[in-house]
């Protein structure tokens, strides 16, 4: 992993189209600004982790759900 130190209002470039800027540092909270082309998707990583977990939870479905359907 590349580690860089930045201060407020400093930024880094990823490639020549993506800019990540430190907007504010308030205690534990860091506000980050992201400038990227529309085609680049930006998500909080918790979102991905939550979806991965949900996919796995969906797999644990009881295989008798077809019977449940018939009962409805």
């Amino acid at each position: 992993m590349l580690v860089l130190s930045r201060k407020k209002d400093e930024s880094i470039m990823i490639g020549d189209q993506i800019e990540i800027k430190i907007l504010a540092v308030e205690g534990e909270q860091i506000k980050i600004g992201i400038v990227a082309p529309k085609t680049v998707k930006v998500h909080r990583s918790e979102v991905f982790e939550a979806i991965q977990a949900q996919n796995k939870e969906a797999l644990s479905a009881t295989s008798n759900f077809l019977e449940q359907l018939k009962k409805k």
Partner: protein, 161 residues
């Protein structure tokens, strides 16, 4: 794919697969959908088939071709949430070779619980499938109140088309 598993019937290559919900079934190789990047958290699962369950319900099964235990109940999201809609990004369009809008089928993964009342459908990360090209992808929509990760299924009755 082992050749012993498949027999040649006319122009279609038929193969037997084991499924999570329906036991052993025969599928036509041409129906296999390729999810190039797998599903989130299941990146190695790339080959799936969509299996119908009941024509009266907006539900189907997405079954891995290679692993019997990898089978999902999926739902037609528009039947569960009125006004559900999203744009497919240009990148995803290219990846799935989407040329004709009508070829795109959207499903969302259902997390089945003991009862339908407790079951939820994942509207945040729907599956988009280009049925023409047999290519699919689980996309992630921009986190938003309109796209809950766990949307209650309780509305199954009545709203189902």
């Amino acid at each position: 794919m082992s050749t012993s598993m498949s027999t040649f019937k006319g122009a279609y290559e038929v193969m037997k697969i084991s499924t999570k919900f329906l036991g052993e079934i025969e599928i036509v190789e041409q129906d296999i959908l390729t999810f190039e990047h797998g599903l989130l958290g299941l990146e190695n699962e790339k080959k799936f088939v969509l299996l119908p369950i009941d024509a009266d319900l907006p539900l189907a099964i997405l079954q891995s071709v290679d692993n019997a235990e990898i089978g999902f109940v999926v739902g037609y999201p528009f039947a569960f949430k009125e006004g559900y809609s999203f744009d497919i990004s240009e990148d995803d369009r290219e990846q799935l070779h989407i040329e004709i809008e009508e070829d795109v089928l959207t499903y969302a993964i259902v997390t089945m619980k003991e009862t339908f009342q407790e079951s939820t459908i994942n509207l945040l990360a729907p599956l988009i499938i280009n049925m023409g090209k047999k290519l699919g992808k689980q996309i992630v929509l921009q986190d938003n109140k309109s796209y809950p990760l766990r949307y209650p299924m309780r509305t199954l009755e009545g709203s189902a088309k």
